[in-house]
């Protein structure tokens, strides 16, 4: 029994080592086989990739997060329409007016979300960031 568990542990260790070699090995091989330098003309090998142009400013700036609220609203209504599909399937199977009223109530409650967002000023396109770093 003791032997067996030790053997299992060895298997785990072997697979772990195998995985490690599989992951790290290519890096080491590439490091050994790749040229240690690259020919260059203007000493710009390490420059950030900017299609050959000089990079302007810092990449770590704060972006305006205006659109994401708008996108969230869209998402809410995309899902809303998803819920309307089954309703459309069973519509008028029993009693059309009741179905209609139910849909009106459902969409009406969801529409309150728009009213809320409207009130909060999501639909006025204003930058909500104040300062760059």
């Amino acid at each position: 029994m003791e032997q067996q568990s030790l053997l299992d542990l060895l298997y785990v260790a072997a697979f772990f080592l195998g995985g490690l070699v599989f992951a790290v090995g290519p890096f080491i091989i590439a490091l050994l086989l790749a040229s240690r330098s690259t020919r260059n003309t203007r000493q710009k090998t390490t420059q950030l990739i900017e299609c050959g142009m000089e990079p302007i400013g810092d990449a770590w700036i704060r972006f305006g997060a205006v659109y994401y609220l708008y996108a969230l609203m869209f998402l809410a209504f995309a899902v809303d329409i998803l819920y309307l599909f089954p309703v459309a399937l069973v519509y008028n199977r029993v009693f059309a007016i009741r179905d209609f009223i139910e849909i009106v109530i459902f969409v009406g409650i969801l529409a309150l979300a728009v009213v809320y967002a409207w009130n909060k000023g999501v639909f006025t396109w204003e930058r909500k960031t104040y300062s760059h770093r």
Binding site: S37, R39, T41, R42, T45, G52
Partner: protein, 165 residues
Amino acid sequence: MGTQNLQPPVVQFAQLDKLLAIGRANSLWPMTFGLACCAIEMMATGASRFDLARFGAEVFRPSPRQCDVMIVAGTISKKMAPAVETLYDQMPEPKWVIAMGNCAISGGPFVFDGQYGIVEGAEKLFPVDVFIPGCPPRPEALIEGILELEEKVTGSRRFPRVEVA
């Protein structure tokens, strides 16, 4: 000028190098990079009619870090030269350069006494491996250039040479 002498890799085996050369030659990755009208022919070469994919060189990379071949397709204006040189710098070894068209070879029709705007040939900027004449060269010519480059890399030609009647 920067460095033009290359530090070789830590590990080198002749046979392995040959194997790697075959792999590299048959999957050359050019850079998505066009300077002038020759680029239109380059796009045609990559598209379905001439189908550069048959020769393994269709993967046009938008980043110089992933490229093997820089096809200088078009006139290099002096304004654009620093950008082209930077792109060459940013390509990792091994890298090759194809000068496509007369402008990239020597300045083409823009060379005259007192011209001030054009770099007269890509080899004024960096070493060039294959020159493809033409104004612009036909897509077949670019394919032949790629095949010439393959031959240069491996030392043997994989596809039959077209005999001119």
